[in-house]
């Protein structure tokens, strides 16, 4: 089982937090902080597994994470999950994001957090891995956005145009892309 999925940037700002067991908001923030603390001080060339923090899990849990450019993707999993499998899953997740957003960067996650959640929902459901096949995931996402577009209809067109203009003047938070795939996949 996956207990939590966290994405935060190099400064520890949460970009996505999905908990599959209930924690109240304060605990959630604490967990994000603690996880960030654990993960951020590690070099990029050390192993991607980490014994879990004190707040989340315990002996049976471990953190599996990957660091892409400005973002950390952290999965907290128990012993029923294969560590290497989860690493692979993170890669699938990021690659899917990359396909959906076309060169995904941190900004995409801030802007389209809902979409990221929907993509994640196609991979993991209630803490269990739902699908690992990327083509299948992409088809499902594609079909859902079709429905979304149908519902939005013509009325959305002007809004889209306006938003596009607005986008041009956006502040430059961080546009460095996540750079995929620059890590050795373990096959």
């Amino acid at each position: 089982m996956i207990k939590a999925i966290l994405i935060f940037n190099n400064h520890g700002k949460p970009r996505l937090a999905k908990f599959f067991t209930h924690y109240n908001e304060d605990d959630q923030q604490q967990i994000v902080r603690e996880t960030f603390h654990l993960v951020s001080k590690r070099d990029d060339n050390v192993c991607n597994f980490l014994e879990g923090g004190t707040l989340i899990g315990g002996a049976d849990y471990r953190l599996v994470y990957r660091h892409y450019a400005t973002l950390y993707f952290v999965f907290c999993v128990d012993s029923s999950e294969s560590e290497l499998g989860i690493l692979d899953l993170i890669q699938v997740f990021v690659e899917t994001l990359d396909k959906c957003f076309e060169n995904v960067c941190e900004l995409d996650l801030i802007f389209h957090i809902d979409k990221v959640h929907h993509i994640l929902a196609e991979l993991v459901m209630g803490g269990m891995v739902l699908e690992t096949n990327m083509t299948e995931i992409l088809t499902r996402i594609e079909e859902q956005s079709k429905i979304e577009k149908q519902e939005a209809g013509l009325s959305a067109a002007p809004a889209r145009a306006a938003a596009a203009v607005k986008n041009i003047n956006l502040p430059n938070i961080s546009t460095s892309n996540i750079h995929l795939p620059n890590l050795p996949s373990f096959k």
């Binding site: 996505l16 209930h22 109240n24 029923s80 690992t132 096949n133 519902e151 959305a156």
Partner: protein
């Protein structure tokens, strides 16, 4: 995208920017105000937008539960986009305790059943995050049917969601399990993988219940190529093997193959892991075990040597598992693991450290510790250094100092460790010093000298900062040791001076008080010595010195220190006075500190045995027996809860008799030995063999010794350095020098004085004291899971066939009626719903009577359960009773049942009639589960027979199995030789297997056809077959029967036996049926309605095989005839010719009916309830056959179960797959005809059904 949503998105970066500026709280507050306004608007788009914003704010750590209502509003929107936003917000902030969840039940139900698969998808994803017990119970049935959805996407999600349902509503597990199991063979790989996932999760927690699935998983493992699924399955096997070693043996080969063949590291790693757990579970004696271990270790070495840190880490992790059982194989790779200690990655270093712990031996301890000491000095970061330190101590002290051959060395190591700056483990070091000094008598002189050195160099230890639990803790140990064993000191007076030296008053209080106390002890020893030398002057001088120095403690802020100091000063003043008068005081002084301390085992208190005759559960004073109402609660407090009884309340007093007994025992003890209790039996003097030493020391020299670079001079004058011990030991063995140590005063048996064993340092380890008669075995690990672990509730027996209790609650309208009415309805039992809080309002409306009715109903059901159990515990009496419960599961089964039902009510006597019936049922179910278990043992033993390894266990199993299958018959076969029996068994088994495999629907629910086959008829009933001829031509013959799965409401399977009547090969068989509106053949995905279904086999000459074809059906209230064609190719010598055969499949109503157990009470209630509106009656001619025979025939073909039989009247009951109750009453009329009356919930169904019965009857 909507305008509003774009706005929402615009919102986020602003938000982030402002947060950076530190305006967060204020800014968020203003945002929330804005959101609140938006939520008040009627426009759904605006609301959805606001909810989307809330989701973001929630991520930033703000509570949004106040908007739960609005979230639900958005969830209920008809637009997919909004709905999705709503569900997302809900999944982020709703949880089990969210109160508004109870409002969502119907909405979620509607959504999961939505025709749009994505709508169903988002609602299921959401539900997976916020399932509550109420929701789980109410939606379990809907999800069950969704598992059979035609859309793989929905099926997949429903399967996964079922796991969450099980967690919250364990009762759903048993009814849902058959379907879940079927999903393991789903054509869609995603669904299959989901099912594997769920079952693995379940099995991980309660593996023993899932052993029977092993063959299925084995098949999947050997056929599947989906790595993700393989990993899960292999992990599952890892959990199963400890329960069934034979499974492990079977697994070894395919796993080894996988290890050799796979290129995926993740899979390789899991395979190795499982092989390891297999090897662990196998008690040694397997010839190829070593080979497997070697293979694993080899592969792991490759992983560890890999440049990828992840693989390295996992490799070490797996190594540590091997280490536990096969330390030797791992020890060969010591070099590799020591190398890992130098790795730059801390997690890898820690893993390697863990491994070292298990790798030490007497031979290499010194070497390894030396290496670790080097690392301690090099280590950056105090955390890792502390970890190293504690690891060193752990390694050395493990198993009661098993691997230490030279305690002088160990003390030196401990002293060296005190030089580590900023460690948090001062306390640990101190306790080790104390432990060793107390328990190893021979080391006391040495330890004492070392401690004196420490005390003289306190400035090095205390340094500038004194921190709690810091290294200064070692002074505690040092002071005590010096005070306790002053006789070993070289210069006691010098030590005494040292103890007053330095900044002792800045030490923590507890250390100061130890100082004060031990100063006096030391002082009294000095006086004693001086008096022996009759050096009175020195005595007085020392006393005055003390009197001068001690007052610094009387001003201490620590009470204990102050108190002790004051007392002692007074004492010393008195001593001084006496000395002035030339009185010798040494005797009295030393008398103050006489006696020895013996170590007591930490568990000693717990292990004090309960004296004979003492019953802790017995009331000592009779319980308060006043008439107040409170009495009831007290009773339940103590008697009701079995666990509680063990804890005798503290205030209970012992009876006079007991007290006397105890006092006597204590007196005896005291008389024998006033000061300490020795338990001589358990003394095991440690010895060291010469050979070991030689081997060990030959390697020591070759180790490169790094120079230690320390700020603090390591070599404190007088403190010996550990290296010397290694050299010394080395030298010693080279010269074969025998060094003899003086044994401590209290040295033990003479046995260790045998001079021919040369040892580096002779050692006595004093065993910790234990109370006499204490149980030495450790069984503390009884409770593994916390009481609130949801998996506890999921420990459910899945082999036991489903019974009427195992129904999922079905949605129902709430009826306003009397309790009696409700009782009637409860017949089918699916409606059993525990009371819900949130429906209270409604229930109150409907009146109290209903409530009571509900309660009654509940009670009644529990009674029934209880009864079944009661019977099942009785020794079985009839033929089948010879079936022995397989020890694998049998024992646990009954317990589980009890657990599941948790019945507390007392048994109520019922009529003999019902009881008998129950008994029968129970026996059947027993036999059935026995069969299933035997299938596993057969599956497992098959292998072994082939290997010609026949452990006795299997041989024993054989006659048992024969009995299982032949059971009550007790035929001649039993007299046959064993060989024959074996053959029989095999044959039987194949038949059985085939039957089960084919039986799918009906046999998975054995109780359903039980009444038909187990008809309690004395007269022999002619054998009946449900196979009917479908079509025949000169080359092929087809017979078929229909089957259903009681859990599938709209599916029927026809099973067709194809017989090749020619001497040619028949191939390319294709089965096609012209679909009707109501009934459609289930074809491959993507196939059109004109395509046939390929029969998955060919028919060799005169062969017979069976194929199954499933149909979906909408309505079942009339019989169906479907036309179809079978096309096939006949291949003979001349070539192949294509042929076809037309047929008509008849699907009578009876094919949708299952015989469901029903007792006469339920039957009567059903009839008197108003639900059975459809009525019909027909008459038939009895013809030549007898009444009982006709009834049996009707039961068999129409799938009805006998409820009750009274002379020439019989009532029958069945249930359709769509939940129609079917009640039939058959009377034999005096004129030789049969009157058949039927009632059902559907009028056309019953009238058509009776027509079918009529044709059966005549």
């Amino acid at each position: 995208m909507l305008d509003s949503q774009r706005e929402a998105i615009q919102y986020y970066p602003q938000n982030a920017r402002k947060l950076k500026r530190g305006h967060s709280a204020k800014y968020i507050a203003s945002c929330i105000e804005e959101i609140k306004n938006e939520l008040k608007q009627d426009n759904m788009a605006v609301k959805a937008n606001a909810v989307a914003k809330l989701t973001y704010i929630q991520m930033l750590g703000y509570d949004i539960s106040w908007a739960a209502f609005n979230i639900i509003e958005v969830m209920s929107s008809s637009k997919f986009t909004f709905k999705r936003t709503g569900y997302l917000a809900a999944s982020q902030c709703f949880h089990e305790g969210t109160e508004v969840l109870m409002l969502t039940t119907n909405m979620v139900r509607k959504d999961v059943n939505s025709a749009n698969q994505y709508e169903a998808g988002i609602s299921m994803s959401g539900l997976a995050c916020f399932t509550s017990p109420d929701l789980a119970r109410d939606l379990a049935n809907d999800l069950m049917s969704l598992m059979a959805s035609t859309k793989p996407y929905v099926r997949k999600k429903a399967v996964l969601l079922m796991y969450k349902i099980f967690l919250k509503f364990p009762e759903a597990l048993r009814p849902a399990f058959p379907r879940l199991k079927a999903k393991l063979e789903d054509p869609d790989p995603g669904v299959q993988s989901a099912a594997v996932n769920v079952i693995c999760e379940l099995a991980r927690q309660n593996p023993k219940n899932y052993l029977s699935l092993a063959p299925l998983f084995f098949k999947l493992m050997t056929t599947s190529t989906n790595n993700w699924m393989l990993i899960k399955i292999i992990k599952l096997f890892g959990a199963l093997t400890p329960l069934e070693p034979r499974l492990g043996k079977k697994l070894l080969e395919p796993l080894t193959n996988l290890i050799h063949s796979t290129s995926a590291m993740s899979l390789l790693y899991e395979c190795i892991n499982t092989v390891i757990s297999v090897l662990v579970s196998l008690s040694s004696g397997m010839p190829d075990q070593n080979a497997s271990i070697q293979l694993c270790v080899q592969k792991l070495r490759i992983l560890i040597e890999d440049s990828d840190q992840n693989l390295k880490y996992l490799g070490l992790l797996a190594m540590s598992k091997i280490l536990k059982t096969h330390p030797k194989s791992v020890q060969n790779h010591k070099d590799l693991i020591l190398d890992c200690l130098d790795d730059r990655d801390e997690s890898i270093r820690l893993r390697a450290l863990d491994l070292l712990y298990g790798m030490v031996s007497k031979k290499n301890l010194m070497e390894i510790v030396k290496k670790l000491m080097v690392h301690v000095d090099k280590a950056e970061g105090s955390i890792y250094r502390d970890e190293l330190l504690s690891k060193i101590i752990q390694i050395c002290s493990q198993n009661n100092y098993q691997y230490i051959i030279n305690f002088e060395w160990y003390i030196s190591i401990l002293v060296e460790l005190t030089r580590i700056e900023g460690t948090k483990h001062g306390h640990l070091i101190a306790s080790q010093m104390l432990d060793v000094a107390i328990r190893v008598k021979a080391i006391q002189p040495f330890a004492c000298k070392q401690m004196a050195q420490l005390l003289e160099n306190t400035h090095l230890i205390v340094g500038t900062a004194v921190q709690a639990n810091g290294i200064c803790e070692v002074l505690y140990a040092a002071a005590w040791i010096v005070g306790e064993f002053p006789q070993h000191l070289l210069n006691p007076r010098h030590t005494l001076d040292a103890m007053f030296h330095g900044r002792i008053t800045s030490l923590p209080g507890h250390i100061q008080s130890i100082y004060v106390q031990n100063i006096v002890k030391l002082y009294s020893a000095i006086i004693h010595q001086l008096e022996e030398e009759e050096d009175k002057e020195k005595c007085q001088e020392t006393t005055l010195f003390m009197l001068e120095k001690l007052p610094q403690f009387t001003a201490s802020a620590h009470l204990e220190v102050q108190e002790r100091a004051c007392c002692i000063i007074q004492l010393l003043k008195y001593v001084n006075k006496l000395l002035d008068k030339d009185v010798w005081v040494a005797e009295e002084l030393t008398g103050l500190f006489e006696g020895e301390l013996n170590p007591v085992a930490p568990k000693a208190q717990k292990k004090v045995p309960v004296p004979e005759g003492l019953d802790l559960d017995k009331w000592i004073n009779s319980p308060p027996s006043d008439d107040s109402d409170d009495e009831v609660t007290i009773d339940t407090m103590f008697i009701h809860d079995a666990n509680r009884v063990n804890h005798t309340p503290v205030y209970e007093e012992l009876s006079e008799e007991e007290m006397e007994k105890r006092r006597a025992a204590r007196r005896v003890d005291q008389a024998n030995n006033p000061h300490y209790l020795k338990d001589d039996k358990r003394l095991k003097p440690k010895k060291k063999k010469l050979k070991d030493l030689a081997a060990e020391n030959s390697t020591v020299d070759s180790i490169p010794v790094a120079e230690i670079d320390l700020n603090v001079p390591l070599h404190v004058p007088g403190i010996s350095v550990t290296d010397e011990y290694m050299k010394k030991a080395n030298l010693q063995t080279k010269k074969k020098h025998r060094k003899k140590h003086k044994r401590g005063k209290r040295g033990r048996r003479d046995s260790n004085s045998s001079d021919d064993i040369p040892v580096a340092h002779k050692v006595d380890i004093v065993e910790e004291e234990m109370p006499e008669g204490a149980d030495l075995s450790d069984h503390d690990g009884e409770d593994e899971r916390p009481a609130d672990d949801p998996h506890r509730a999921l420990d459910i027996d899945l082999e036991r066939p489903l019974d009427e209790g195992d129904r999922l609650p079905v949605r129902e309208h709430y009826e306003v009626g009397t309790g009696l009415k409700l009782l009637d309805k409860s017949e089918g039992a699916p409606t059993e719903k525990p009371k819900r809080k949130h429906r209270k309002g409604k229930e109150e409306k409907s009146g109290k009577s209903k409530k009571e009715g509900g309660k009654d109903k509940k009670k009644k059901k529990k009674k029934v359960h209880k009864e079944t159990e009661g019977v099942s515990k009785q020794p079985p009496e009839d033929g089948e009773s010879q079936v022995e419960e397989p020890n694998l599961m049998g024992g646990a089964e009954e317990e589980e049942e009890i657990k599941v039902n948790g019945v507390t009510e007392k048994e109520v006597p019922q009529t003999q009639d019902v009881e008998e019936k129950k008994e029968k049922k129970v026996d059947e179910t027993k036999a059935n589960s026995t069969n299933e278990m035997d299938d596993i043992s057969y599956w497992l033993s098959k292998d072994e027979e082939a290997e010609k390894i026949k452990p006795e266990e299997i041989n024993d199993a054989q006659p048992k199995e024969t009995e299982v299958t032949e059971g009550s018959k007790k035929s001649k076969k039993e007299k046959k030789s064993k060989k024959d029996k074996k053959k029989d068994k095999k044959k039987n088994h194949h038949v059985k297997e085939e039957y089960e495999q084919v039986g799918n629907g009906e046999t998975s629910n054995p109780t359903s056809d039980a009444p038909a086959t187990e008809d309690p008829q004395p007269a022999p009933i002619p054998p009946m077959s449900s196979y009917r001829l479908l079509a025949e031509n000169p080359s092929i013959k087809m017979t078929y029967e229909t089957r259903i799965d009681p859990k599938q409401t709209n599916q029927v399977v026809i099973s067709v036996i194809f017989s090749n009547l020619t001497s040619n090969h028949l191939k390319s068989l294709e089965f096609n049926v012209l679909d009707s509106l109501n009934t459609k053949l289930i074809r491959e995905i993507g196939a059109s309605t004109h395509d046939g279904v390929k029969v998955p086999f060919q028919l060799p000459p005169s062969a017979t095989n069976e194929g199954q074809f499933a149909f979906t059906i909408n309505s079942i209230n009339m019989s169906q005839k479907l036309r179809g064609t079978l096309t096939y190719v006949v291949k003979d010598d001349d070539g192949s010719t294509s042929e076809k055969l037309d047929f008509k499949v008849h699907l009578p109503i009876s094919s949708y009916v299952t015989a469901t157990p029903c007792n006469s009470d339920q039957f009567a209630r059903l009839l008197s309830g108003g639900d059975l509106t459809g009525k019909s009656s027909v008459t038939a001619q009895l013809g030549n056959s007898e009444f009982p025979e006709v009834v049996a025939r009707i039961c068999f073909h129409a799938h009805l179960g006998v409820v009750e039989r009274v002379e020439s009247t019989v009532s029958l009951y069945g249930r359709s797959i769509q939940g129609h109750d079917i009640c039939v009453l058959i009377k034999a009329m005096p004129n030789g005809s049969l009157s058949i009356d039927g009632k059902s919930t559907d009028a056309s169904l019953i009238s058509n059904f009776l027509d079918e019965i009529r044709s059966l009857g005549s």
